[in-house]
Subunit: 307 residues, 4 copies
């Protein structure tokens, strides 16, 4: 949506942006590809070939969020118009109606065996999908630049609108909520179970785990509050270090705390009777989604080395 607001022509806006803003349709973003390490956007291999008045698109995208939603009618497709241009000028973006011939939802993807609701993630194939050249955004070779600028705009909008902050902080807050819920469940369980003549809650190993879970969760919370506070007061750019830190901390702390709660529950902890298995899947996926740990640790180290 942000892409269209900033870069759409009048025609593009009236066709797609208005129904999007009205909530009548949904859109998805075809970025991540199966065959390459997509955290580096220059790796993309899908092709956008010029053919008369049309572009012909080919490629296989996956983890395309919202693509399974029944109202999803638009895909913004990222591909290469010129494989021989300099590294950051090969990519372009085009608007693709979801009902275009050749565009096929190949399959829904699972994460640890589960499907996501409601929009889901899918693998989407583009086989000789043909769109008119008017569907190009800005110009050929502008794809990488648009992605970069939009990421920045996204931050600005979030900040100016007085919202709590971008998705990253939301994610971390949810993870901390998961930790708190896991600690509650763990305590209930430990208080109610007896093994070998003694309540689990009075056994040293479990006391240690409850104590450490509290320590780790509270530390993660403090850092998240600091990051949110800095984002609200001095902006996302200055808060870059704190944001990188919570993106690293929160999923890893959640994994540890939730895992202890699962162990306290025995087999029940892995079943769907408790939310713990879902929390675990969620925490694990956030070590990859929104940039893998490695990317954020790297950014953080760069900022730190500059000091």
């Amino acid at each position: 949506m942000e892409v269209l607001i900033k870069y759409g022509t009048e025609e593009q806006k009236s066709e797609w942006l208005e129904p999007l803003l009205d909530g009548k349709i949904r859109s998805c973003f075809g970025m991540t590809e199966i065959a390459v390490a997509s955290s580096d956007a220059t790796n993309i291999e899908s092709s956008i070939t010029s053919c008369g008045d049309d572009y012909v698109l080919n490629g296989r995208k996956w983890w395309t969020s919202m693509s399974l939603h029944p109202n999803c009618e638009l895909c913004i497709f990222m591909g290469k118009t010129d494989f021989s241009a300099s590294r950051h000028l090969q990519q372009s973006m085009v608007l693709v109606p979801m009902k275009s011939p050749g565009l096929k939802i190949h399959r829904a993807l699972t994460c640890y065996g589960n499907y996501d609701a409601p929009g889901g993630h899918a693998e989407v194939h583009f086989n000789d999908v043909r769109v008119p050249k008017e569907n190009l955004l800005v110009g050929e070779g502008m794809g990488f630049a648009i992605a970069q600028v939009v990421a920045k705009i996204f931050f600005e909008i979030m900040k100016n609108k007085g919202r709590l902050g971008p998705g990253r902080i939301h994610h971390c807050m949810r993870l901390i909520g998961n930790c708190e819920r896991s600690i509650e469940l763990m305590k209930d369980r430990l208080r109610s179970r007896v093994a070998f003549g003694k309540k689990l809650s009075e056994q040293g190993v479990w006391k240690e785990r409850v104590g450490l879970s509290r320590v780790e969760t509270d530390q993660a919370r403090l850092m998240t509050l600091l990051a949110a506070h800095k984002m609200d007061t001095v902006g996302a750019k200055v808060a870059a270090k704190e944001i990188a830190m919570i993106k690293i901390i929160a999923p890893n702390v959640a994994k540890t705390v939730v895992d202890r709660a699962i162990q306290a529950h025995g087999a029940a902890g892995m079943s769907s009777d408790f939310p713990l298995a879902t929390f675990m899947t969620w925490a694990r996926s956030l070590r990859l989604a929104d940039g893998p740990d490695e990317v954020h640790v790297n950014s953080l180290a760069k900022l730190e080395m500059k000091n």
Copy 2:
């Protein structure tokens, strides 16, 4: 099956053991309960009430393996005949046809959202299930003792038959196989992916993870081989320490190694395109199945403190 061989009357054997040995029917064991810490068998709360010539059974069992198999016709039910007897004489075992009125498969259980094949695990409810008193095994109050003896017989059989050893070692071997496969997949992935201008396989952080995965997997393998060797040559009892050790080591090493492989694969690692998510679920569940880590660490510490 071992229970019937050792403790069944002639009538019980001809009715159940023969078709079991012929592979015509299957059986399940109703032991683990929802409401208590079942790694301590004295905690069991299901009841076996005497009523004329019958016993009336009540209780909720779960994680009952094989109970979902279409040929499963017999359940060995563990419950208490006398709640006021001394701690190890309260339990009894009775044979229950799966088609008895009041016995209901309540639901299949998931583990991280997945169902197991083929026999599955279910929650099984017993509401006033009535069986003739002839179905009792050995005698009232013998349930705990039978369980203990059978566990020992099981070890003996395994050893005398020249098999590799009991299930525990099999589990560990499978986990080490999972580690090896994960390392293979991780290496393939790292060799084929480039991020920020450099193959992942040449990046220091990934070299460290490959190296450590090799170290941890090989150590787990050596210990498993030692445990198997001792079981074959000096018996399960003398090998108790090594068996406890691999039961602790293997699932934890597998969790670590598989997790690194998942991280190397990005989102694909969590999808069903690779076996890694399944390996992870399997490794995690083996920190609980067959006795949780805590029980084995405890046994090991006791053996160690004796030296």
Copy 3:
């Protein structure tokens, strides 16, 4: 000193408190003993035997801080006057001049091979040390109670005087300072060294370690600031949870961060050319001093389980 202010008789005060307040003499506290787990004060085994108008003291104390200072003239000795009284009424405290016959500084103690400055820690032997009964504080059997009350007073004084807070928070602040200094030294080192054709600061493994060190240090700092803030505003009692948390966090984080810095420095990191080996010793000793980790994790778990 606090003990004398609160519990000293007029005679005791004029003899010892005045020169102490004038800075003319120093005192030490003979509490910790060699043969027992002294984190539980009821374990103490030194004896205070009544003998006419005198008490006769016997016992071996160690880690007695300040006892090596040349001006140290007074020892407050904790021992048992009645081994058969109820657990918390066996202990008494008496004032002992350091020059009493039978009191001997047995030896200075090292910590990882180093002596502390300036007052040091010593092992002090008491062999039939005789002091007049007037030297008893408060009354027989009051030793445990005095220790408890003094600990509370100490907190009160600190708070009312507007000081930053008790020793525990000071310790944590120093440890965080050590972390910061270690990170600085590590960064300098990594920037200045080349191995295998590449600056260490550009190698992935070291970037990861710098990043994680920043994450862990900042988290420890935030929790310490919160604990200090709560102590200043709502008092040490309400802040008990946060104080327990930083007592656990800070020494362990410092150990980890300093250890990475040592590794970055090679053999130099362990030498006395850098402060890192000293930082490490200091961090390690604070996992024991002022209550070992285990005691604080336990308190924290109790507070958490109450919620």
Copy 4:
């Protein structure tokens, strides 16, 4: 010594090798330098300047083992004869009598505050030290090659002489011995101490630590035995992977196990009353000595990626 056997001229051998073999004198090797990362030998910065019939040596070496021994009379000095030659042809080795004018033992080095016995490690300064050109080994530019070849010879000798294997395996064996001794001491301590009404040996947290210490120590032992066995049977080259593995495992396992034993001993664990503080220093230094962890993890990863 190996250097002289292989590369010494007849004159050099009669002057130095014979008294060395007779045990009359000792030698040291001036390799590691203060200012550079010496695990990469091409980094060396000491200079060997030609001046008529002599070489003039300048540089600062440290961690020079055996240099403090009263009988140490010879130093083999590694420096650069040609800073502009290709990377591996800049280095040369010369024989330097310890009593040469300009050669000065600058100071003994401490490791965590301790001095080593008997030969110790020192910082040795070379200020315009003059030796005749006959003292050159082999030829100018051969220094790097000699170091490489000698390392190999060293392995061969060890193997052919039927010795247990090179220093690396010895180190690991000693570390495992330290682990065993630490576990013994820990068990004794836990059995003899009571805190809060219960023997430490019966407290869950300590049982866990004893159990895990046994697991980790036994795994390290098995891998060390495998490495030694392979070295004896198929040679050091084929055993390279296992040797790298134990060099990584053993010091890290020892650090963990010894640290638990220290914690079990309280302050006593850090004092010189128990060998634990020394074990810790030793384990820590072996994460650096004989190649830091990072170098061995790297080699291991390379071998593993080749498979």
